[in-house]
Amino acid sequence: MKRLFMFLPLVVAVAIGIFLFTGLGKDPTELESALIGKPVPEFSLQALDDPDQTLGTSVLKGQVSLLNVWAEWCPSCWDEHEYLMHLANDKGVRIVGLNYKDTREKAFSFLNRLGNPYETIIFDPQGSLGFDLGVYGAPETYVIDAEGVVRFRHVGVVNQRVWEEELLPIINQAKGNS
């Protein structure tokens, strides 16, 4: 009977293995969002730089924009930030930031050090909009078209490859349709 207990580690290990294997099949950078093709969920949150200003889905309408989910505590965000700066400054891409589960103080110190590529930043300390969007972890980047409809979701760091192969074609397509 006692011998059966010795199989416990094996069973646990196999279970973990199955989890990891399915995780591998789902490439985290290609997680489908249930929201693709649907409008961004309604929200009402403060602007990061101005607590008196309330932002809603209208900030994401009017032209094609990127919605970038970031936080000071997320190491990969530090990594991708430089490229976002490049997109905003050199390519004129409109990027809206979603500061996710962060504090104002930390968010400001992050931007002071690395620069601000965002046209507007939505402050989401509780992660409520993040929850509605189904944010898996920061950083994530969404392509939102001029009607405020989610066109694409990228999980993980945005770099030149992601921009050229994934985001740019979708943006061009979104621009063509509207």
Binding site: L10, E82, N112, G137
Partner: protein
């Protein structure tokens, strides 16, 4: 032509590994000495050819052979030679080759330093190491060949090494870390060999202890170096981010720490055998899991430099085979008899058992925090991200509890400890610790519950360690004689525990009393951080070998006196077009003053980050002290004496067990 030779060397090493994994094991199982005799030559051969491959790759870097794809992707003709050298392990393929070189090195070390072990054991251990090597050789040859060529279009110059990696910390951090990771393969091989033999005894524990301790010491240094590097190079002054890759290195460290303690019990008292063997397997599996997490792209992170599903599946397969095979062997072969009666409910065994429970809980916690998002996603229970807050809230209580337990455990005895005696024994150290903690907290000015808990735990460990040293060194021939009489493994334990206390003190103080300020400064401005006044003098330009930089000059004053001059930089690496912040730090034993330049806000003004970091050095010094303790412990003379008559030694140690414990490091 050299790169092709390198590839050939790898293939030959693979063939030798295949032979090593089969021939000596077959010899051991059938009792043929002639086959077992191949173990050592095969291990040496494997090392020689792996070393050759590594040397050839290094050569390709040093002579700028950009026809090799890996060199072209990770080096540049402008790099200084030492970075060309460290660029060998700056990317996925090369760091994997380094990993394998370490594995071959450890295998060779086992072959060389195991003359006194029974030949059957040696053959089995080397064969198990050979099997692991086969897996990794296949991995590198099939999925990540560092010698792939870019022919016929040879690039004129390379793409440069990631500037983050152009640093002294990164020259030594990966080799140290890998020494640790891979070193646990030896403990694993010993465990597997013992399971095959059915000889899980005190002798087995004694043989695997030094190997485990060395691997653990290297891992400790490796993790500390990574933390130190992140602190000064990433440029924002943090020292631990709970990043998945950091967690991946912490996991085997935590379970490895548990293993070291559990091995001590198995060696001294012959109990916890099945548990120890399981820990050895788990620790190595976690080392492999760390590699898998970093390489597979399952988790995104700054460190994850090779995200490739093909490599991920291959590694997962390797990990799967290793874990399933070893745990199946464990399930069938591990002894189920638990001799509960051999120790009382209050004894050193129990303290070490609790230590193991805490360390394993911490391991599970960190694993959970790292893998949780994946698991939730699999169960379709929603998507969730886990950040620093989760780890800080759950890890700190476990660390404090481990510290408190450790202080009390030092005084406990094997077999049975009298509760009343222990309570009286702890009274004075307890009072002293509270006093010191109070003084420290007044010194830093400010009470916070977690600061109190952390500092108290750290002081408690320190006081208890010295108290015990004082007790043990009492001798009629004088204190000095008493101190000299202590064994090196006891000194190792003392240093290990003092190191832990230092790390705890550093972590607590810097997290609770550190000051961070982000200020806007114009040359000529001054700002205060803690008691220090920072004056921004001016900002200028300079050129490095492969970058241009803007550098600021800052004076640091304390009470009106100039303490130091700092020159933080913002570097622009010309080849990769990337910006890097190089902070400048006035380092001290009790505090660091840290200045980094951020964005230019206007023509004149800059965003400057100023930090005051008390005791931050203790994090890394403490780790170093721990590692030195580990190295000291394995130089103990009992590992050098002949172990010809195992039975006699065993009987003797069982008898000696009733006496007060000498060492449990």
């Amino acid at each position: 032509m050299y790169p092709e030779l390198g590839q050939l060397a790898l293939i030959l090493a693979l063939l030798l590994a295949v032979l090593l994994s089969v021939v000596p094991l077959a010899g051991a199982l059938t009792g043929r000495d002639s086959l077992q005799a191949f173990a050592r030559p095969l291990a040496s051969g494997m090392f020689v050819f792996t070393g050759l491959a590594f040397a050839i790759l290094t050569h390709a870097f040093l002579v700028d052979d950009f026809s090799v794809a890996y060199v072209a992707n990770n080096s540049n003709s402008l790099l200084p030679w030492y970075y060309k050298f460290s660029a060998v392990w700056g990317g996925h393929e090369g760091s994997l080759l380094l990993w394998i070189l370490m594995l071959a090195g450890w295998t060779l070390a086992v072959a060389v330093f195991s003359r006194k072990l029974p030949p059957v054991m040696v053959s089995q251990v080397l064969s198990v190491l050979g099997m692991i090597a086969v897996g990794f050789f296949l991995f590198i040859i099939v999925t990540s060949n560092p010698f792939d060529r870019l022919l016929p279009n040879i690039p004129a110059d390379g793409q440069d090494l990631n500037p983050l990696l152009q640093d002294i910390g990164l020259i030594i951090h990966p080799p140290m870390l890998y020494m640790g990771y891979v070193g646990f393969s030896v403990a694993f091989a010993f465990a597997i060999a013992a399971l095959i033999n059915g000889r899980l005894d005190a002798a087995w524990a004694r043989w695997s202890r030094p190997w485990t301790t060395v691997a653990w010491s290297f891992l400790t240094i490796g993790i500390a170096l990574g933390s130190w590097w992140a602190y000064y190079e990433l440029g924002w002054g943090g020292w631990w981010f709970w990043d998945p890759v950091e967690n991946a290195s912490l996991l085997p460290w935590l379970s490895g720490t548990a293993l070291i303690h559990s091995l001590a019990v198995t060696e001294k008292r012959g109990v916890f055998k099945s548990w120890t063997v399981l820990l050895a397997i788990v620790t190595f599996a976690l080392s492999l899991l760390g590699t898998f997490l970093v390489r597979s792209g399952v988790l995104t992170s700054v460190h994850a430099f090779a995200s490739d599903p093909e490599r991920g599946s291959f590694l997962l397969m390797l990990l799967g085979i290793t874990v399933v095979a070893s745990l199946a062997l464990y399930a069938f072969r591990a002894p189920v008899v638990h001799v509960r009666s051999r120790y009382g409910s209050l004894s050193r065994e129990i303290f070490l058992l609790l230590n193991n429970v805490l360390l394993v809980s911490a391991t599970a916690l960190v694993a959970l925090g790292t893998l949780y998002p994946l698991v939730l996603d699999y169960l379709d229970m929603g998507k969730l991200s886990i950040g620093e807050p989760f780890f800080n809230a759950t890890f700190s209580p476990l660390a404090v509890a481990a510290g408190l337990l450790l202080g009390a455990g030092i005084f406990s005895r094997w077999k049975k400890t009298d509760g009343g005696w222990l309570a009286r024994k702890l009274l004075w150290p307890l009072a002293l610790s509270i006093l010191i903690t109070a003084a420290v907290m007044i010194g830093y000015g400010g009470f916070a519950p977690w600061a109190f808990a952390g500092i108290f735990a750290s002081v408690w460990v320190t006081v208890a360690t010295f108290w015990d040293l004082w007790d043990k060194s009492a001798s009629r021939q004088g204190r000095l004689y008493g101190l000299k009489r202590q064994t090196r493994s006891y000194w190792g334990m003392v240093l290990g525990h003092l190191g832990v206390a230092m790390v705890m003190a550093g972590a607590t103080v810097v997290s609770n009393y550190g000051i961070e300020r982000d200020v806007r400064m114009v040359p000529g401005d001054s700002a205060m951080v803690g008691d220090y006044e920072i004056v921004f003098r001016d900002i200028g330009q300079r050129r490095g070998a492969n970058f241009t930089a803007e550098y600021g000059s800052f004076d640091v004053f304390l009470d009106g006196e100039k303490v130091s001059e700092l020159h933080p930089e913002k570097r622009n690496y010309t080849v990769g077009m990337s910006m890097m912040t190089e902070a400048d730090i006035d380092a001290g034993l009790f505090r660091d003053v840290f200045v980094a330049i951020g964005e230019r806000i206007s023509d004149e003004a800059w965003a400057i980050r100023l930090q005051y970091k008390p005791l931050i050095r203790w994090l890394w010094l403490g780790s170093l002290v721990m590692a030195i303790g580990g190295f000291l412990a394995i130089s103990d003379k009992r590992y050098r004496i002949r172990l010809r008559k195992e039975e006699k030694v065993e009987a003797h140690s069982a008898q000696a067990g009733g006496k007060p414990a000498e060492a449990a490091s």
